[in-house]
């Protein structure tokens, strides 16, 4: 008996490992190995004809810490994340609550909200370029109707980052709304009825019942928004290319510039490692800390 039980257990273990193998191979090849390789190359100097590549340890990191542009980029990115994440989540939630209620043309509203997400970022950026263009752009044309002066939204450091933020929020909200909408539809309608009978106002119901039940979704969206705030840079290529005077330069754009415009792979690698580290820590905190305070059904 025991022998067969052991055999069965081993057979199951092999079966389990076989199921895990494809994902493990793909992840190692395209995620783990590149990360380790990046870490490795971030510790070597950039090879030139005169100075061959050599091990510099934390040298590349030290260079970055003393680079004012790096700190500006970090500051830009924090500001960008600090505005886009809460704003797009708030708008997404509001839209979802509205699109989930009894309104006419519900299907149209949902589709309309989701459209920005379907558009490729490059196309969306071109669209917004048309909105922002001084003189010709829609914003300026509307402004002109009220006698406002022409504003070069993307061309001045004071407004450029805000213009980028608005494009991102416009793009992200619809996407997040879909998640909220899906979560809202899993809340049974009789909870609303039970709350109604108890005399709970709409606001009380939303605050005490709906929002807590949406917590898992909120957590998921928060992590996604966080990653996106570092990941999403397509629109920078179209709209500003990081300018004017680096006011809209975000970390990933800077990494790209470092690697493919200045051909300084080691510094780009060092920055990548730092981004990975920070994102990893944030995700861990969110999942381990917030998880405890979240109700899963």
């Amino acid at each position: 008996m025991n022998k067969y039980a052991n055999q069965e257990r081993r057979r199951r273990a092999i079966y389990g490992y076989l199921l895990l193998t494809p994902a493990a191979v793909l992840l190692s090849l395209f995620a783990f190995y590149p990360s380790v390789a990046t870490l490795w190359s971030s510790m070597f100097s950039r090879g030139t004809r005169r100075h061959p590549t050599e091990f510099v340890g934390a040298g590349n990191y030290n260079d970055l810490f003393s680079d004012p542009t790096f700190w500006l980029v970090v500051k830009n990115n924090l500001f960008y994340a600090g505005i886009t994440i809460p704003l797009s989540m708030f708008i997404a939630l509001s839209m979802a609550l509205w699109a989930n209620s009894k309104i006419s043309a519900k299907g149209f509203v949902r589709t309309a909200y989701f459209t920005p997400t379907v558009l490729p970022m490059i196309a969306a950026a071109n669209l917004w370029l048309f909105f922002y263009t001084p003189g010709l752009g829609v914003l300026d044309q509307i402004g002109a109707l009220f006698g406002l002066p022409s504003v070069n939204w993307l061309g001045q450091p004071e407004t450029a980052l805000w213009a980028i933020i608005i494009v991102t929020v416009w793009k992200e909200s619809g996407f997040f709304m879909i998640f909220y909408l899906a979560a809202l539809q899993t809340i049974p309608t009789d909870l609303k009825e039970a709350a109604d009978l108890e005399g709970a106002s709409r606001w009380t119901y939303t605050r005490r019942i709906v929002l807590p039940l949406l917590m898992p979704t909120t957590l998921f969206i928060a992590v996604n928004a966080m990653i996106n705030s570092v990941k999403l840079i397509d629109h920078l290529f179209i709209l500003t290319k990081g300018g004017p005077s680096d006011s809209t330069k975000l970390i990933l754009y800077y990494i790209w510039e470092m690697a493919f415009a200045f051909f300084d792979a080691p510094h780009a690698a060092a920055m990548t490692i730092m981004v990975l580290l920070v994102l990893g820590i944030i995700a861990a905190v969110q999942f381990f800390y917030m998880d405890k305070r979240t109700h899963y059904q």
Partner: protein, 340 residues
């Protein structure tokens, strides 16, 4: 009974996009009574309850509760509590928070809230479970939390929408008694929706039988059982239901009529001396008695009740006698023909 009924439904109708929900619902409910809305699924009993609760608005008719016209009042202004079929407990809140939710909304002081909670927990036997989440409770316990929530609301009218349908048979029987006792102890009026005729018959003072959005019969359980208004009531109420026999099959009854007879009024007869000759289809042993299913080409639902265990092989032909004075006649449309 007081002259003014506690709850009045007057000519209520509700339609959805032309499709019929319920119509011509006229019903009065006395204070302190236990009323069951009974019927097959889709008959409009839940709709009626939701209309009464204020979760739906009627297209026609008036609803009065305690002398006030509440037809257009929201659910919260009708002074009633409700137990939902799915219990509708808030999954992220503990038992105590679930029960006290309404009091918190109504800004009841904390000391009083805790007192009411304790009392409700005591009544429902949930003491010690206050901090559990609904998903850590069994079906029966969840059901009692829903009851506790209705108790602390302290309303004189409590609506229950199939509260026992998610429980297993044994628990259902126990909770049935608890609910009935609770209703009597608290002296509240209960309107109870169910598709299970046993539940309705055993708990209610008054049963409202519905089909296809209309009331078929209103009466005490006894009236529904022995004096069904039509063949639908005859076949829906009672276990086993009333057997219906084509009038032509029985001597002394006219052709188009249908004759109804209860199982207890059917007796086994000597071969060749009965009213009807039937074929045995099955024997259902229930302990104290055995139900013997019978088949006859001009009858349906024929069942013979025999004390103790009796096993007659299927296919055997037996004769039965019907107790004449208990037979009920129904006309072509299925309506009862008044006797005498």
């Amino acid at each position: 009974m007081s002259a003014q009924p506690f709850v009045v439904l007057d000519g209520i109708a509700k339609r959805w996009k032309g499709a019929l929900g319920v119509q011509d619902i006229c019903l009065t409910i006395e204070e302190g009574s236990f009323v069951a809305l009974l019927g097959p699924s889709g008959c409009g009993k839940s709709t009626t309850l939701r209309l009464l609760a204020g979760l739906e608005t009627p297209d026609e008719g008036r609803i009065m509760i305690d002398g006030a016209d509440v037809t257009h009042r929201p659910a919260s202004a009708r002074n009633l509590s409700m137990v939902f079929q799915s219990y509708a407990l808030f999954p992220h809140l503990s038992v105590a928070e679930n029960v006290m939710f309404g009091m918190k909304v109504r800004r009841v002081p904390k000391a009083e809230r805790l007192r009411s909670l304790h009392r409700a927990m005591e009544i429902t036997g949930l003491l010690g479970f206050e901090d559990r989440k609904p998903n850590e409770l069994s079906g029966g316990q969840r059901q009692r939390v829903a009851l506790a929530r209705a108790i602390v609301a302290g309303q004189r009218l409590c609506l229950m929408d199939e509260p026992l349908s998610n429980l297993d048979a044994k628990l259902r029987h126990a909770v049935r008694k608890d609910i009935k006792k609770l209703q009597q102890d608290l002296g509240i009026t209960v309107v109870y929706v169910t598709h299970d005729q046993t539940e309705a018959m055993s708990m209610a003072d008054k049963v409202v039988l519905m089909r296809d959005g209309e009331i078929q019969q209103i009466g005490t359980p006894e009236q529904l059982y022995s004096q069904p208004e039509n063949t639908f009531a005859a076949e829906f109420v009672g276990a086993p239901p009333m057997a219906l026999i084509d009038g032509a099959a029985l001597p002394g009854f006219s052709d188009g009529h249908t004759i109804g007879v209860r199982a207890e009024n059917i007796v086994l007869a000597e071969t060749g001396q009965g009213d009807l000759q039937c074929r045995v289809t099955d024997c259902e042993f229930l302990g104290a008695e055995t139900f013997i299913g019978l088949q006859h080409p001009q009858a349906r639902g024929l069942t013979l009740k025999v004390a103790g265990l009796k096993n007659i092989p299927a296919g055997q032909v037996i004769d039965i006698v019907l107790a004449r004075e208990t037979l009920l006649s129904f006309d072509k449309e299925g309506r009862k023909i008044p006797q005498g």
